[in-house]
Structures are given as structure tokens and as C-alpha cells.
Symmetry: C2
Subunit: 446 residues, 2 copies
């Protein structure tokens, strides 16, 4: 058999770390640092607290840590909770073509695995790169229909990536890697309807857990269809009527999806980012005094309004999907960080007043990483700016230093400065670490 | 809000056991007995052994028993393994309109719950009836497109039924029951491509586990979309472009889907059953000597050939989906029980020889519970019969005594006759048992 399932499995089995180009290897370290910061920053969210309360009684032995928190659960439960916490702030990475957030399901599965079975830092990064490749290539094959239909593509493809990555980390052969991918394929799930509810990030946690358990089942000899992806009633056809299997197999080993990964400077819907850039720029360069603002006009791509058009968000989850809220806090606070999307800031009266002054216009000629902002002031003055590419877009990526600064700001919620220094250093040097579990074990104090 | 999600949740919350008609109450006891026998009969299958080996290390405290086996795992893991074992023999029940096997996901979730939290026998049966109602009504709303597309409908709808049933057993209010249904909806998964592999029954176990965990998450306050089923990007639209929400809500409380449930007399694909009936009848009434057979001609509905047309099955899993194998063993052995579908019987040379003599013709004028069989003998004689309705069909249901005999045959693999007597009695009297966990605790020896 030579369909996508088997080709992917053979590619994953045969790959050596030295086959991975240096820029892709470095991108893996960047992605892990970004993911880990998000996990630590999100670890005390109410979504996570409720999950821990509900699942604690069913957990097995203390095999793996909750990132940022330190409680130890069985590896599958830890993968599930860490997958949820690392997505919860909506601050994780984005594969722009598919809108997959690649790292969360895969890194969460691997981090739990690394505390349970021996895994080197290079082994972790290598498995991660291959998992992203599986996840995003399958995403390419089913986009855009799959996402448009209402599937939460990070979850449905993430479980495949997590399974492939964990299977590689377990050093399974191609036959068992294919089984792991198949076991994951029949567990692919996740509805976009869950946006704005706790289930949204749980979709990711569920994918991490199921991907990891698929690898353990495959290791034990559990069987699946050898054509799980491409068969007439397999993943591709069932989850997207229009799909292209060749997207999965073309240029395997020469084209790397991780090079198309972007990191968010702001913890909210990515289509909002150029608006925040423009508001921050106007505030700083024009020294705008927020009380003097009488109107804020925002021109964006229609997709931004579709995904993030919530005019009156009621809480953090909805605030992250609101162009209106984001423009208001950027102009009021001069930043758009985790604090600007907490419940209390979303409900603050000064924000509500300014939100009311925001008008959003849509224009298909404006790209999703562009925005035009006009601010009218009480004295009759008006200021305007056009953002050509949002910060964090592929055309204007975050530098290593910016990524580390983001990581440090997120980690500060749980860790002292010396511990943050050490953990940042361990992320950058992960390739040389003998034991990849340093990452999880260094993510909490105590 | 008054969509299907909320209407179902309010119905489940408000229902009292005394609201359930007597015939439906009795059907629940029949379904539980049938399901329990299947779980005990399937509990040593290799699929189950591999699952136990792979998942054992991650299990939490010993909260619930593996049916038939007795090892104790955390309730979620036990639900998963029991959901797999009780489907493994392909001997469980069938809601004919949707081809859902209703009991497996729901009863497996409830049995694990009953060992972990207090639950009376009547509470178990009541939650079961309501879970079946949720599961099969959602199935009605998305059939036939959903199944035709390649979804394993027992898994995708089973997780909803398991969640609703467990939420009722936990005595959650309507709001939290709706959350449980929503949490389950975003975990709905399962591909038909998995037929013939270990993943096929795992789809059911996964549904049982996820439905049960959805109820525990909802109990703890986890949120989901209040329109998880009917929203534009909710379960119905994403999993079936053509769907009918009214199927879910019409006649709630007056029409009961459990009355459309059928029980298999043979552990194989249901469309094969009339062929087995005909072969057994000819063998007995015509005293056919198998070596004298030169040809067996079988006329069936085209669906039977599509689903079960495997001419040369290689193992038990494939044998259960083979008209050819089934006709051969029925004529050779004079029965078609668990033993006739073991690997060794599927691979036996006498069976292979007779299988070669089977010819299948399809005829759309023949219903799926009908078949015509012609057997030609070496002496020139020929015998023919037409089966009007298969045994176990709704037109010719198994009697209580036949169901109990099936249960006894299955349970004999693990239990002594006195224990079987006691367990059968506990099933029939479940409504009056103070503690529903008697079922799981009585299912193994030791």
C-alpha cells in the first residue's frame, strides 16, 4: 500500500534529526518556547480549574506534571489538561494557511510522554517537527472546506500530529506509526460551535490526550485501518468532501510546514492583530488621550468581522474574539496583553464606553494581516494609519528576543526571575538536553 | 432558547421513571441483559487484552470493574474497556432505522458510574432509557446521510446518549445536562473505515468514556454551547449536511425509540441473519449432509452484499462480515454462535471448501431481513426456502426466554451455572435492586 497513511508513517519512521534543516530545527525551539509560555500563563484559568476538579478522581499514577502548576497526573490526563491550558489564552501559534494552531496538541502530548518514558531534548524536538508535518499536511489536504464546514481543525488534525509525534518518540516502526495515525483518525473531533465556551480549548486537550493514547495503543499492538486517511470512508473523505491527498505526500522531507508558523504578539483572535498594531501606533505616535476620543473607525478584511465581530463581549472568552474590545484596550492601556483580556478588564466601564465608539467597516481589498484605523478626537483632529503587515505575521515575524520577552511575561505569573532565566535557557538549548522532561519539571515553582 | 439541545436537556431532567411506559421499562431490562451477556462473552478478546495492556498504566483508582473479568480500573477507563468488549462480538442490539447499536455506549458508561456513585436499579434503567432516546433521536435526525458518508453512527450518537444518561444518573439539572450533551457533541467521532480492525469496537468504548467524562465535567461546571446540536456550526450541520432537527423533538415522551430495538440471535452483521435462518432451516428440515452439497445460492438485498460481501474472510473480524462464511458454518455446524466466528473456525478447511460453493445474488425486491436460499446436492436434489423475516427482527423478536438463553450461553464463558442463575435473576429484577452495581459485580467469578 502506498497511500498517504503509509507514506506518512514511513517518512516519520525513517526521519533522522540530522535530516531536518537547521532553520526548521530552530523554529521548533521557538515554537516550544512560545507554547510553554502559553501553558504557564493559562494554567490557572477557570477552564483548567474545573477540568482538574472534574478529572482528578480518575487520574492514574503521578507520571507527568501540569505545566505551571506542578500537580502530577497520569500522562494521558496531564496531556489533556496541558493541551487545554496552553490554548486557553488564545496566545499560541498559527499555521496561517489552515488556521491550525500547531504546537498545542503535539507539544502537550510529548511533554507528558517525556516525563513518563526516556526522551532526549533532540528526540522531543524531532518528534515535534514530524508531528507538525503530519498535522499541517493533513490540514492542507482538507482546507478550506473542513474548517468552513465547522470543524475545529486544530483538534481534528492535532490528534493525528500528536499520535505521529508520540509514536516517533516511542520509536515505533512504520507499521505501528501507521496504526497510531489510524487510531487517532477515528477519534478526530471538535466543533467550531464551541468557540466562546470552555469546550473550545478542551478540544485541543482532548486531541493531545487521544493522540498520545493512540501511540500507546499502537505500541501494544492495537490495529487500525492501514488506509485510515485516504480510504473512501476514511478521514479525508468523511471530514471533507473536497480534499487533496497529494497535499499530504508531495515534497515530504523537502518542504517543512513549521516554516509557515506564526506567533501571536497579542492573546486574541489573529485577525484582530493588525487593528491592535494600528491602535498602539496611533496612541504612541500621536500621544492620543483616550478620553478625548469621539470615534474609532476600523477597516478590516470581512473575515475579521465574521470571526471577531462581538461588539459587546461579556467575558474573557468573548473579549478575545472582539475587534471592538481589542481596539478599546489598545488605545486605553497602550498594550494588549493577558491582563487586557481578563474578565474584569472586559467588564470595566472605561472599556465599555470606548468600545461603543468603535465602528468596523469591512473591505475585501484589505488582507487579513492588514488594517486601517482612523481616530477622531473631540478637538476636531483626526489621525489615521494603515498597517501593511501585522506584527507576528510571516512577513513580520517575532524575533527570538520578542518571543523570549513574550515567554518571560507569561511565565512571570508562576515563576521567579531566576527560574524564568533557567527555563528560557533550557528551551533555547533543548536540543542538547539529555532529558526533555526538564521543560515540564522547570515550569512550576516548588 | 428552545432548540433541540435545550429541549432534550429539559426532557431528560424532568422525566420520572413512572412516566416511562411499562413496555419500555421492560425493554430496558431486555436490552441490559443482552448487553451484559455480550460484554461477558467478549471480555477475553484480543482487542480487549491489548487495550488493557496499553491503558493499565494510566488508570486511576479501582473504581469500576471490567465486566466478565473483574479487574478494577477508574470509572472512565472501565467504561472505555467495557464499551469495547460489549461490542466486540457484534452480538449487541440494533436500532434498525439508524443501524445504531444503542446499548453499548450508554450501558457501559452507566455500569461504571454505578460502581463509583450511588445508583439504584430503577435509576440505572431510567437513565438508560433516556440515553437511548437522546442517542437514537439524534441518529434519526442525521440518517441516512451521516452513516452513508462514513460515520460510525453508534459512536457519534452514542457519546451523546452516554452523556445524557450519565448526567441523569448524576441528577444534574437541565442546564448541566445540556452542557454534558454539548461537551459530548464536540467529542463525537468514529470512522466506518475501521470495520474489520480493533478500532471498530474501540469507537464504542471511546464514546462510552467520553460521554461519562462529559457528565462529570458538566457536573463540575464546565461550559459548552447551549445550542451544541442545532447551531450552524453545531453537531447536526457539521456531521450531516441534510438533517432534520424536528426528529429530535417531536413526540418527546410519547414515542420511545427503545421500542424499535432488535436483538441479534447470531454474532455477525445483522443483514446476514436471514441467510443463517434459511440455512439452519434447510439443514434441519431437509437433513442435509454438508459433504453432499454442490452449490449454495443465496438471494439477498444489495445492502447485505455491500456490507457483508467478504468472500474469503481471514479472521474472526472479517468472518462476522461474510455472508459466505455464515452460510457455510450454518450448514456445516447447524448453528451460528460465538464459536462459529472464532479465528480457528474462520480458517478451518471444511469451512473454506463449503464457502467456495456459495454464490450470492442481489435483488432489491428482497428486504434486508429476508433471504432466499437454494441448496443443490450431489444426487441432483435441490432444496429451497424463503425467510420472510429474520429471527430477531422487529417482526419476529426474540422472546424473553430466547434472550435469556443467549445471555446464558455468553455468560458461560466466565461464570458457573449458579452465578449465571443469580446474574440473570438480577438483570430481570434490576428495577427493584437498591444498588445497580450488582450487575457489574456479579459479572465475574472470584
Amino acid at each position: 500500500m502506498n497511500g498517504a497513511t503509509q507514506q506518512l508513517a514511513r517518512f516519520v519512521a525513517a526521519s533522522r534529526w540530522s535530516d531536518v534543516p537547521r532553520n526548521v530545527q530552530h523554529e521548533a525551539a521557538r515554537a516550544i518556547m512560545n507554547w510553554l509560555g502559553c501553558a504557564i500563563g493559562g494554567c490557572r484559568d477557570r477552564t483548567v480549574e474545573v477540568m482538574v476538579a472534574a478529572l482528578r478522581d480518575f487520574s492514574g499514577p503521578p507520571q507527568a506534571s501540569l505545566l505551571g502548576r506542578g500537580e502530577r497526573f497520569d500522562a494521558l490526563t496531564a496531556a489533556c489538561i496541558n493541551g487545554t491550558s496552553s490554548n486557553r489564552l488564545d496566545f499560541d501559534d498559527t499555521h496561517l494557511r489552515t488556521v491550525i494552531h500547531p504546537s498545542v496538541p503535539i507539544a502537550s502530548a510529548l511533554a507528558a510522554l517525556a516525563e513518563y518514558r526516556p526522551l532526549t531534548g533532540a528526540g522531543f524536538l524531532h518528534a515535534f517537527v514530524l508531528g507538525v508535518e503530519v498535522e499541517c499536511r493533513v490540514g492542507n489536504a482538507i482546507a478550506p472546506e473542513h474548517y468552513d464546514r465547522g470543524w475545529h481543525i486544530t483538534a481534528t488534525c492535532g490528534v493525528l500530529g500528536a499520535a505521529a509525534a508520540a509514536a516517533k518518540a516511542l520509536e515505533l516502526d512504520a507499521h505501528r506509526i501507521a496504526s497510531a495515525i489510524g487510531i487517532a483518525a477515528t477519534q478526530a473531533s471538535g466543533l467550531m460551535e464551541m468557540l466562546g465556551t470552555m469546550c473550545k480549548s478542551y478540544n485541543m486537550g482532548h486531541a493531545a490526550r487521544n493522540g498520545l493514547s493512540a501511540a500507546f495503543l499502537a505500541e501494544a499492538g492495537f490495529t487500525s485501518s492501514p488506509r485510515a486517511l485516504e480510504a473512501p470512508r476514511g478521514f479525508l473523505n468523511v471530514l471533507a468532501a473536497r480534499n487533496d491527498e497529494a497535499e499530504i505526500t508531495t515534497d515530504l522531507g523537502s518542504r517543512w510546514e513549521l516554516t509557515h508558523n506564526a506567533y501571536k504578539p497579542y492573546p486574541c483572535g489573529i485577525v484582530i492583530h493588525p487593528v491592535i498594531d494600528g491602535c498602539l501606533e496611533l496612541r504612541q505616535e500621536q500621544r492620543i488621550d483616550p478620553p478625548a476620543i469621539v470615534a474609532i473607525e476600523v477597516d478590516v478584511n470581512p473575515l475579521a468581522q465574521t470571526l471577531c465581530g462581538r461588539k459587546t463581549p461579556r467575558d474573557s472568552l468573548e473579549g478575545k474574539l472582539s475587534l471592538y474590545h481589542s481596539a478599546a484596550v489598545a488605545l486605553l492601556d497602550g498594550e494588549a496583553g493577558v491582563r487586557q483580556y481578563l474578565d474584569e478588564r472586559v467588564r470595566a466601564s472605561d472599556v465599555a464606553v470606548l468600545r461603543e465608539k468603535v465602528v468596523v467597516n469591512t473591505d475585501a481589498a484589505i488582507a487579513t494581516d492588514q488594517a486601517r484605523i482612523r481616530v477622531a478626537l473631540a478637538n476636531g483632529a483626526s489621525h489615521e494609519t494603515f498597517v501593511e503587515h501585522a506584527r507576528g505575521s510571516l512577513a513580520r515575524p517575532l524575533t527570538d528576543a520578542e518571543l523570549e520577552a513574550k515567554f518571560r511575561a507569561l511565565a512571570a505569573a508562576e515563576l521567579s526571575p531566576p527560574r524564568i532565566d533557567r527555563l528560557a535557557e533550557q528551551c533555547w538549548s533543548l536540543e542538547r538536553q539529555a532529558d526533555a522532561s526538564v521543560i515540564a519539571r522547570g515550569s512550576f515553582s516548588g
